[in-house]
Subunit: 223 residues, 4 copies
Amino acid sequence: MAKVYVVGANGRMGKLICELVCETDGLELAGKFDVDNIEQLDEVAPAADLVIDFSQPAALSHVVAFVRRTGAALVCGTTGLSQDDLAQIQSLGSQARVVWSSNYSIGVAVLRRLSVEAAHALKDWDIEIVETHHKMKLDAPSGTAKTIAEQVGDEVGRPILAHSMRGGTVAGTHEVHFFGTDEEITFTHRATSRRIFVAGAVECGKRLLTVEPGFYTFDDLMF
Amino acid sequence: MAKVYVVGANGRMGKLICELVCETDGLELAGKFDVDNIEQLDEVAPAADLVIDFSQPAALSHVVAFVRRTGAALVCGTTGLSQDDLAQIQSLGSQARVVWSSNYSIGVAVLRRLSVEAAHALKDWDIEIVETHHKMKLDAPSGTAKTIAEQVGDEVGRPILAHSMRGGTVAGTHEVHFFGTDEEITFTHRATSRRIFVAGAVECGKRLLTVEPGFYTFDDLMF
Amino acid sequence: MAKVYVVGANGRMGKLICELVCETDGLELAGKFDVDNIEQLDEVAPAADLVIDFSQPAALSHVVAFVRRTGAALVCGTTGLSQDDLAQIQSLGSQARVVWSSNYSIGVAVLRRLSVEAAHALKDWDIEIVETHHKMKLDAPSGTAKTIAEQVGDEVGRPILAHSMRGGTVAGTHEVHFFGTDEEITFTHRATSRRIFVAGAVECGKRLLTVEPGFYTFDDLMF
Amino acid sequence: MAKVYVVGANGRMGKLICELVCETDGLELAGKFDVDNIEQLDEVAPAADLVIDFSQPAALSHVVAFVRRTGAALVCGTTGLSQDDLAQIQSLGSQARVVWSSNYSIGVAVLRRLSVEAAHALKDWDIEIVETHHKMKLDAPSGTAKTIAEQVGDEVGRPILAHSMRGGTVAGTHEVHFFGTDEEITFTHRATSRRIFVAGAVECGKRLLTVEPGFYTFDDLMF
């Protein structure tokens, strides 16, 4: 039975993760952390096998310190991180099993990979992204939109614009638009519940426990 | 046979208008004006029955002066105008028959009217607009998107955000999104040729010739 | 405290209705009925103030008999009913307060009403409907698609085709497409949870308790 | 200067092909054939370098006989063909350079290839297709929809349903829908003019003139 800590446990995603960890064979929810008790991770908390972190950038230093101290595996889904933050997570890979992704949905992964492939075939077409989320979402564009914009932008050698809509209870919609001469292609992904992100994150956690230390991407673990 | 002057005659829309005026019974293309010869409108040009102006804001003062001097009817579809420009056009209505619209498509008119009605029924839903046009379009958001945003915004008592995509050869797509709790509604209009705008503008011109002097909206003339 | 019976209580919608009735001030869940115990409605069941029926056509005769016997108010959301079934429900209006609708969502109601208005303005455009639901949905096209097709068809004087997609866990998407010359308009409604139908049905039940006997439509009660 | 015969020259596509052949360096429009003079292909017509056939299945035997007699290269875009018809075209590859495709658009090719890739990654998701074309289109589903349904169906090992809408002047829209648990992906291709099909067909014709005899697919020649 692997002991799991959830960081950001009181957030929308964190609550779902706690539920799912409890329902998953082989995993045991051993600790819930959030803004109010995050300092306990620093020195007090006993070792765990796996940390699943869907919190705020402000919590990251505590999570990183805990992984360094205990060697726990880390599934990180926090978005809005700086380049420095991301570099810090990647460097953890030298001593622990770590995965970071802005999105843990298999459908979103397909959207991202095939958008890059389409961009390769349609290099001279114009490309823009639109993402839509519920009103409570703090960052914009979404982490997923940023990642797709980056990877597609690298493929075609120019920056890709991403537009953000915020409204209602939308769990998450991403559209990648390709505009050519007299034709256009759109790839759309719609999530109707946040469980799709949680399911992929918990699955990654399980797979992480079976691999060598290192920094992994979602695709490394899932495809 | 009504004599028609087309202003902005070398632009994308202007060329289509010239074509359509030539094909329309009862209308005669009597003059083509653009940046290079717009000054001729000022004093030289003889009277015409109708001016159709799809040009740049910079040409407006010449068009207004011509209408004041000759009393010609005016169909104006120039976008990117200031509040002062618009006030000037409206004031022409005291002596001539004038219509200004940011969009002369019947489909766009339906989109606009029903978006306002939907907003009335769904006052507490979140509302945003996305518009897409070809890369050559200079202004953003489009005149149509601005008009819908204003009218819907007046209905719900708060400003409506409009996002603009630019790519390929898209003739014009407008989406009005309404986001509620666990449900959403989207109204989409797609134009696949600019002829839909021209057809409505020329039709307005014909109808304008049969009414009393005054400032008219597209809906006044068409519904 | 109004006593409520739920018929079809073990179905997807029925379960949500039971939950919501329990959460709603002024309502008390007094009985749950389904295929296995529907006969109890016939003579055994004591009077209730309100019956909410989201079951199968086969259960209808029992529900109708109960309303005739006790005068309870009836909110019926069963789809796949024959013309005779519907006539039977309407005739109940002579002695009880009754509402039947194929769909109890405010968003769907807006979609339906505005589709009819658009059809009125665009009479010579081609019109088709596409609806998408999860794989478990038995009837096709959906009751909502049928209702929209009928009302729009009456407006334009010709039958409207409805296409049905079935897949995944889609809670319900309806698109009404209008195709003109070089332009098209699409109205889309997406539900992301079945609670939107349940919420409207329970709200109708509350309003029904305050009105005179008669047969009501959803629009009668809600707009 | 390569001599080109166009078969189906009076059809919508045929007219565009004739225009484009005339505008293309290195190609010369040497003959136009259609229902009324198709028999002339049989024995009378002198040799040509290239035949571009966008006609009806009924014309195919004449086209095939001409290619057998003269060894001309063949670009065939006729849809609605039987399995026997297609086998006949393929067998021409033993003596001539031949390409057949239901669709000569680069965008449609990307849609088709990436739909198959997505199906590979999402094997247990439900998949359906919707295609929309103008009212004049005779066959349904479109050749493109059939091809995508076949290739995606082969990938997932079950038949794929395709729905057809017909209305207005739609040049061609294809949507491939993937439905999973709480998420869905849609790939959409929109054509706004038939020139996208013609451009690809004429380009294929040019490339065909530079390769060895054989039966080629659109992808063989273009990617």
